[in-house]
Every structure is written in C-alpha cells, then in structure tokens.
Subunit: 340 residues, 4 copies
C-alpha cells in the first residue's frame, strides 16, 4: 500500500460506444480518478454524457479540454483517424494519455507520433491493448516468465466473433481483429514480428457477400517463433479468444472456459488456489463496492442481520450434532417483518 496523490481528473475524448463506457468505468469502477471533461464533435452527445457526472464539463475541442485546470490526463476514444492530432496536442500540454487502439490507422502516422514523443523525451502514451490486462493473459505471461516451460516456439491463436458488424471488410479482419494477436504475440514472446503470411480458406456461407472470412494468418518473429491466428468473425456461436503457447518443455493454453491449462511433465491441468484471499479476491472487491454504492444511494442491499442470525442458529445446531453424532433440529424465532 503506497501513498496516493489526490484524485486524477480525466478528459475523455470521444463519447461513442467505447468512450461512453470508459466514462462509466472511470466514474463507477476506477478508484482515485474522476471524469472532469468529455469531448465530442457532437456537442449534444458530449453534454448528455457530461450531465451524468458531477463536476464534468462538455467540450467540442480537445485542446480546450486539455487546457482546463481540472484536467490531469487524457483518454482518447475517438475514431482512429483523429488520434494523431489529439496525441500531438496532448504532447504540447505534456499530459499523460491512454489512447484506444489503434494508435493511428497506419504505420506512417504512427511513426510521426513516435518521433514526436521521442522529441518530447519521455513516455506519455499508453496504447489500449487491453489483453495485456486480462487475468488469463497475465497468468500466461507470468508462467512464460518463470522459464519452467522453456523457450517458446509457437503460438496458436483463435479469435472468433459471433457475427461481424455491417461495415466490416476483409482488410479489417487484419487491421481491427488480428491487430490484437499481433500485439499479444509481441508481448507474450518479447519478439518483433518479421513476416506475415495470410492463407484464405473458402469463406463461410454465413459471412456477408464478398467478405473473406475466415482467414488464417501466420506471423514469423525475430526469435524464430511462429504464431498462427485463426480469425473468424462470423463463426455464429459466440466470442472466443484462445491462445496456446508451445514451448520446449510444455504448452500453456488460455481462453477455454477454464483458467490457464498446461501440458507439462506427463500431466495436463491447472493450479488450485492456496488461500481464500486468492479464490475470493474478486468477491471481496465486489462486496465492498456493492456496499459503498448502495450506501451512497441510501440503501441496504446485502445479507441482512436475519441472515447472520440464521447462520448462527444453524451453526449452534451443527455443533450439537457434531458433539452428539446425531441429527439436531434448528430453532428460529419468527422472522420480523423488516426482513421479509
């Protein structure tokens, strides 16, 4: 536990689906941050989102928001083509930025941003490759770091969507979807990708006319590894992201409706938690958040004193049953109206 500075004031640029969701997240989930500004070219949409948050101002110009005294950091969730200008503006204000993926739509513009930040002389930007924060990917990365599986040789990735949105093109399977596996491959292996091959099986009849779906992509890396990706955005049955890393002494797989599963030393399987704080960490987090939220709304919503009393009465009967070896009936008072 470390000392914290005061609450971070965040300007969210772009209030579409992702932007609005990030406003909600910063407001309801994130500890130590608040949304002080929202920016959208659509002034009405910006105002509507700002109205839901105490002390939040609506802007149409990112630069104006960045100049505001209560803005300490910027979250960019506008369309990709707008990112470069906003990033350069943030560099002028020397503000920290979380920029949704893609950084920019092409390598040339990404390179201009890279050069600008390099000129600035210190890192300011975090790119929104959120898989690095997924608990399963994080466990996979941590396992690879232990070295117990040996050197990684191959990665098998599956990336499936139930159905693609109407505007999706064959190219977007690469730039919008496989982009995640490009980053995951680089991050998991610590390699750069040196070559890409795209194989095109027959398209599914469920894919819209003209869409090459599925595709099969193979990355080669400067560490000599291969990473293959099945991308199938009209698979029909759901959203599924899986990765299996094949190493010299074993493999590890995530995304399979399980936790991390390994093949190693003659056995397949996973780890068992060693402690209730590990198993129920999320439960405790949700419990305290739910209590704080309800209390701020003036409500009481969780297990009641009646529940505490009933548990105590059951345990007392249980202790007698343990001591006597038999069956013991539980006695409860009548339940007060307050708890019905």
């Amino acid at each position: 536990m470390t000392e914290r500075a005061t609450t971070l004031g965040v300007a969210v640029i772009g209030t579409g689906r992702m932007g609005a969701d990030h406003v909600r997240r910063l407001h309801e989930v994130t500890s130590g941050a608040r949304v002080t500004a929202v920016v959208d070219v659509d002034a009405e949409r910006a105002k509507a989102v700002a109205a839901r948050v105490d002390g939040c101002t609506a802007y149409t110009d990112p630069a104006a928001a960045m100049a505001a005294a209560d803005v300490d950091a910027v979250l960019i969730a506008s369309p990709g083509p707008a990112h470069e200008a906003t990033l350069l503006a943030a560099f002028e204000h020397d503000l920290p930025v979380l920029c949704e993926k893609p950084l920019t739509p092409d390598a040339a513009s990404a390179l201009r941003v890279l050069e600008a930040e390099t000129r600035l002389g210190h890192r300011r930007v975090q790119v929104g490759f959120m898989r690095r924060y997924d608990p399963e990917y994080a466990k996979l990365k941590a396992l690879l770091a232990t070295g117990q599986l040996g050197r990684p040789l191959m990665v098998h990735n599956r990336h499936r969507n139930a159905a693609s949105p109407p505007f999706f093109t064959s190219t977007m399977l690469i730039t919008d979807s496989v982009a995640h596996e490009a980053d995951a491959t680089r991050w998991l292996l610590g390699h750069e990708i040196t070559a890409v091959t795209v194989l095109r099986p027959t398209s599914s009849d469920n894919a819209p006319d003209g869409l090459r779906d599925p595709q099969f992509v193979v990355f080669e890396t400067d560490g000599g590894a291969l990473s293959d990706v099945e991308i199938f955005v009209n698979c029909g049955f759901g959203y599924q992201v899986q990765a299996e890393v094949v190493c010299e002494r074993g493999t590890a797989r995530i995304g399979d409706g399980h936790a991390l599963v390994t093949n190693m030393a003659g056995r397949w399987g996973g780890t068992i938690a060693q402690d209730f704080t590990e198993r129920f960490e999320t439960a405790y987090d949700h419990e305290i958040q739910a209590w704080a939220d309800a209390t701020r709304r003036g409500e009481v919503t969780g297990p009641s004193v009646w529940d505490g009393y009933a548990a105590a009465a059951v345990c007392e009967a249980g202790v007698r049953a343990l001591e006597d070896g038999g069956r013991v009936e539980v006695e409860l008072v009548e339940r007060p109206e307050l708890y019905v």
Copy 2:
C-alpha cells in the same frame, strides 16, 4: 449510469488481517469511498495503518470514530465477540454498517442485534457473506432464478483448506467454515435450514491431534431439499470451494477450475461469451485502473507508442499478404532509446 453522491467516508473497526486488507481495498480498489477513520484497541497499530492513507484518523474507541464528522459508514472487522457492542453503537449513530462474518458468535447475541435493528425500524447492516458476491456463485444463483433447471432438490458442497491454522478446533469446522455453506445454501435455495446432521469419518493423519477433520454435514431445508457439505481443512493440496445444485431437470456446478458447468438436456458444458465486452470486461477495468494508478505516481507503464507503431506496421504487411496471397516481410525503423 446514475448520479452519485460525494465520496463515502468509512471508519474501519479492527485493523488485523481482514481489517487491514479492507483498508487497502477501500483505498486502492473501491470507487467512491475513502477511509477516514481506523479504530483498534492497539493504538500503535491503528496509527500505523492510518498513516498510509491521506486524511485518515486513528482511534481506539469505535464510538469516537462514529461521532466524527467525516465518518458516513462503518466497516466492522474486529474479532466476533466485539461485534455486538459495536453494532449497537452504530445503531445509536444510525450509521450504515458492513459487518464481517460472523454477525456475532452465537444465536442469542445475534437475536439481540436483530431486535435492536428491528426497533431502529430500518435495515442498517450488511453481513459479510462474501460468497454472494463471487462471480461464480452469482452466475449459479442467476441460473437457478431462470427456472430452466426446475426446482432444486439437493446441493453438494466441497470446502477444502490446505491446512488449518494452529488455533483451529473441531467445533470451528462448523462455526467458522461450514457457516459459509449454511448461508450459501439459504441464499441459493431461498429456504431456511431446519435440521443438521454431522457425520464423522475417520480423521486424516494430516490433521493435528484431536481435530475431527474431515467432517460431513447434511442440512435439511424447509423446502424439502438436502445440502451436504464435505468440510476438510487439512486436505493438503489447496483451497477449493465447489457447489453443485441438483434440480429436477439438470445440475449446475461451480468451483471446478472452470466457469459454471451444467448437465442439462443430454449435454454437459458451459456458455460462451457473446461479446468482447463480456469476455474482456475485467481486462478493461484493470487497464484503466493500472493507467490511473501509474499516472498518479507520475509513471507510464503500459503498451507504448512503439507497440502501437509495430502493430500498425504488422497490420500493413498483413493487408498486403491478404491481397497478394503470399508472405510479406515487416519493415520497422530502428527502435528509439526511449522504448528499449
């Protein structure tokens, strides 16, 4: 998204293992709350914990903390025998309370708290049965609520600890451990427990001398259901909590290193997420929290502009490979020192 009141000021009573962890949680994880007071009979310990949190005062007397202007709510994490007095004091100040389990150590004292809250005329207390907030238990409860499995007839519970702490007694297997299954059974089924039977197999040689471990407990409910519990606190291999609810048309099981698994209509298995926001919700939450935390510390820690640039270059090569059907090499500029 609803309007929020201002930040909730919480007094945490008791700064032992659970109390200190709740202070950390309220400080680092919970949105919209802050710790304004900590209370412990050990003044030095209270001061040490308070010193880690801006604007937090240390107390030795719960009543003094409850009287403070910046305390809006109370979290009780002191030993069970101290709960009754603290709860009654909180009722005098009419403050909302989250009380760690057990509510009190026995049914008689729990009944006194029940009567006091009933006299108060409105609910103020949430008891810390945190399993109700575990995502797996929550999914199980939600599935039962749909009615698609039919009426619940039996619950099979497993509750295993790697090893019991030194002070553990045979009675505490019931009052400390099985108490969770007592609440989980009541909550999942919506039944009261009417009788308890405890069966005592031979004890494990790994259990400390004199400890009856494992035990096998059977609850009967007023809805005619049975709920059996294997409690085994020296199982040696880890911490494991499992529950299978057997209903008229199928069963549902949690805690198995999987998500929720059902047996239903000739098939076993689970559901597949339908959307990336469902699959990666936690990843987004962690990403934004990690960014806010690092930014408040003056650091930049996540995927860099180099990562964004490399992904863009890989995708450009991928698009050419898709169009040409062959293998395309990826060209990258030299990596600037800033990103090494």
Copy 3:
C-alpha cells in the same frame, strides 16, 4: 502373451435384454469363447437366438445345457429369483459361472449360495459387478493402490438415469441402482460396509407418482470411511455415474466426461499418455476386429490403396516443401473407378 487352451464353450441362461446382448458379445467381441448353448423358459425365444450362432443349441432346461459335452462354462442372465437354483445346479456340474448381478435377490439366499460354494471347496462364481472392469474405475482403483493420495476418507458418488422404467419402485433405487455403489465402495476401499443411512429429499415432480426419487444414501465402513450416494433415476438429462474419492493428500474423480481427474499438491488435472500404443490401443483393437469381420463377410471396408497412394503423394510434396521452405502442389493420377 500366454498359451491358450482351446475355445471355451459357453451356455447363456436367459435370453432377455442382458442375455441376448451377452450372446452377441461372446459371438462378436470376445476372443477365445463361443456360445454353444442358450437356455430360456421361452423355447421360441431360445431357438431364435440360437439360430443366429453357428453350432449353438437351444434348451429350456439349464441342467440339460450344463450336461452337454460342448458346454464348458455358464453365463447366468435370467431374472434374479431364478439365480439360486441355477447356481446350485452349476455347482453340481462343477462348472465356472459368470452370474449377472444381483447374485440372488436377498441376503438369506445369497448366504445359501455362499455356503454351497464353500462346501464345493473352490471358487466357481464371478458376480457381474461390471464397474470393476470399467477403464475409469480401474484407473481410480490403481491410483488408490499406489498410495500416493494417502488413506481414503470419503467417497462421493453420483448415479443418475434419464428416466426410470415403468416398473421401478422406491426400494429398487436401493436394490437395483445403489447396489452398484455398494460394491464399488467395498471394492475401491477394500472395506466392508457397516451401516446405511437413507435421506429423502423432496421428490422431483418428474418422478412417477409415489416414487421417492432422488434419494441420498450414506454408507459407513469398517475402515472409518463414509461413502455418500446421490441416486436420481429421473434426472431427465442422461445417464451419469461419477465417483470422487477423498484421501488424506488429494482427491480423484471419474465419470465427468473426462478421464480420471485428480486434485493433488496444488494442481488439478490428469495424465497425458506417454506412447501411441496407449493412446490408440482401442483404435488398433477396433481396426483389426473390423478387418476380420469384414473379411469374414467377404468385404473390404477400410482405408483403400487409393488412400495409401494419396498419403504417399502428399508426403512427397511435404518433404519437398520442408526442404525448399515453400508451398508445393500435390500431383495425383485420376482416381480409378474401383476407388470412387
């Protein structure tokens, strides 16, 4: 591989569902045995079954079949109440017997058979508790025998049928269904059962009127272990038999749509085959049996010379692709009519 005597001539007593299936099994699956006699009080049924097997004679009297020169052994698949008389007759002929479960319908008659075989002075009877021959149960037993899990303390059994036949009674849930768990418990643990408790939850609405279904049975053993059984013969979703043995250092579970799964030393999971003969043993057995069966029918049914040729051509292209690092096309001659 050991030297074998000549083919065993078997008389099958009873040609109902189980009997007729055993005739088929002995005829089509079992190596080194043949059915030389079938016996049924229904002479027409016996004749119809005998007619399907070369060199098989139909009888209505078990004793007549047992006296025949080509009968070396007896398989009893008649209704339970007829078993005692047939077993005693087999003892008179000193013939080896496989007797379908139950040995007899009650303990008194079973004791008479026991005394008769004891007088005979050597074992002649194998009782049809077929779970001991199930590969999963066999693996579980073998794992317990290694001692690596420590002493068994509890067994949790699940026994579920999609729906009960019309004649099923509440008592038959014990005598017909739980009888299997009685034997499995005794066999797995090497203990005798010393006491039985039956708990009766509310019956499922899907159970026929008056049937107590499900039931929950707890066995105690002379080794101090508990073995609990959920028996649910109208569960609706399928046939499912599961067992988890809880030992001092770990647990092992079968029947879960998996192979044997253990919890042990901080990990859950199973073993990986170490060799293709282990993984594909059944495949080889089926392959050779299918070839022998087809050949005896004058047919050729499996992979053809075309398949062998195509595989050779693919491998040749693969070797060139390996050497050259690129993509190599496969050349095939036109497929002859014989292989279409």
Copy 4:
C-alpha cells in the same frame, strides 16, 4: 447380429514391434480370427513368436505362407520397403490384406500397387490408418456427417511425441508422423489435398542435433479447406494427438483428455450418455473377456459370491433405512476362508 463364417486364419508378415503386437491382438483380443502363420526373414524370431500360439506355423517366405491351406488373409507389418512385393504376391493369391502404413514408401510404388489392384478388379487391401477406428475420431467424423456444424473450413491438428527415436530424421516428421494427419484430413473432410506448405520455427533445444523439430505444416484441399498441423516429436511431456474442425456454425475438438467437445450455439461442452449400455459398453466387453480368459486358464478372478452376498446384505439394510428414515447397521456372517 449376423451369421458368421468359421474362424479366419491370418498370416502375419513381419514380427517386429507392430507385427508381434498384432499377433498378440489377433490371439487375445480379436473375435473370430486366429494366427495360423507368422513370417519373418529372421527365422528364429518367427519361430519364437509362432511357438506362443497353438496351431501357428513359422515361415521365412511370405509366398509360402500365402500358399498354406490354413491362411485365409494376410496382415503386413514388415518394413515399408518390403510392402510392394508382399502386396503383389497377395494379389496373385487373391488374398485379403491389412497393410500397415505406409502402403509403400513413395508415390511411384504406391501407384504400381494401385494399378495392380485395379487390374485385379476388386479391392483386397485395407491400409492401416488406425485413427479412423479411434472412438474419438469416429465421433468427430459422425458429428460432421450430421451436418449440424455446417461445412468444414479449417482443421487444426496437434501431434506431439515425448521424444523421437534415435533414427528419426527431419523428413520423417512428414513421412512418418504427419502422414497420419494427411489421411485424417482427407477422411474427415472427404477432400483431396492439393498443396502443402511447411513452416520451420526455431528447433527446440531438446531435439537431437540437426533435427528440424517442431515443424508447422499447412494442407490446402480441393474443397477450399485449410488443415494445419503442429508436429513436435520431442515435446517432452507425452504423446498427444488433437484435432479441432472449424465449421460454418461451430467447432468440434478431440484429443483433449475429454471426449468430443464442441463450440456451438453459444455453448461449449459435450454429450452425456443416455443409457448404461453406452456408458459401460467397454466395461461389459472387458468383464466377459476377463472371465473367458481366466476360465480358460482354470482360474476365478472377479467379484466373488462373498461380494454378491455382502451387496445383498447392504441393500437389505438400505431398504430398511429408506423405510424407517434412519440409520441401519449391516449384519454379515463371518467371512469364510475361501473368500479371504
């Protein structure tokens, strides 16, 4: 159940590892066949194997064995280069043949065999692609045949050995190992393979010097499908064969320590048996075989009359416990010496 001809006399050509195992299989496992001849260039080895089987003659010349009156069919398990001559000899005798894979070592010789069988005018040869007889592959093929998953688009194959034998070469990863996936792909999809690409990741340090291991192979088919194969013959952890077929509406996977697992219509999982004959088919087969084998050896090995008696006594106690709702003790007579 169909009428059977008399027992099939089989000549096994080659008595190395596979040949000797097939002799054992035909002798101990297969119903309706017996080994009447074994052939090996090593006369001593042939004699040693023949000596273990009643009525089996040893030969050094395949043609002599094929001319014998008691030889009805031929199983070829000699080294691949010897197959062509033996197959052509079998065609001269017009004998049915099961030929271990590969049919012959290269496409040119396979084509000569193909032309010879075509001239013969009827099929005589089954090639030993035993995966087609594996229960999991068979279920996968059957599921594809139902059409419920739609058209297959891709197959992902994993083929892993713990360690390669000393004589293994980079080329043999294709010709010896991937040959199985070549056939499995053709058989599962009903397509011919039209092109092969081999990608070579960095070799594992655990692979012998100079061996390219692992390799990644991609097949293209005349149905527009892709089938990729990870072949890794020094993976260290075991033998593992997996296949996932990706279709238009779902995927199906085998080889994962489970039965067949599908992704379909928002759910992952597998089927539950509907009947005990399905769940315990193998147990019944093993039970009867074990009984026949023991009986032919003059032994009694399975569950005894004591086991039958004890089960009856337990069930009687259980029925009383069911009727009375309580705990009933089990009474057994003293166990006779015969059953100790």
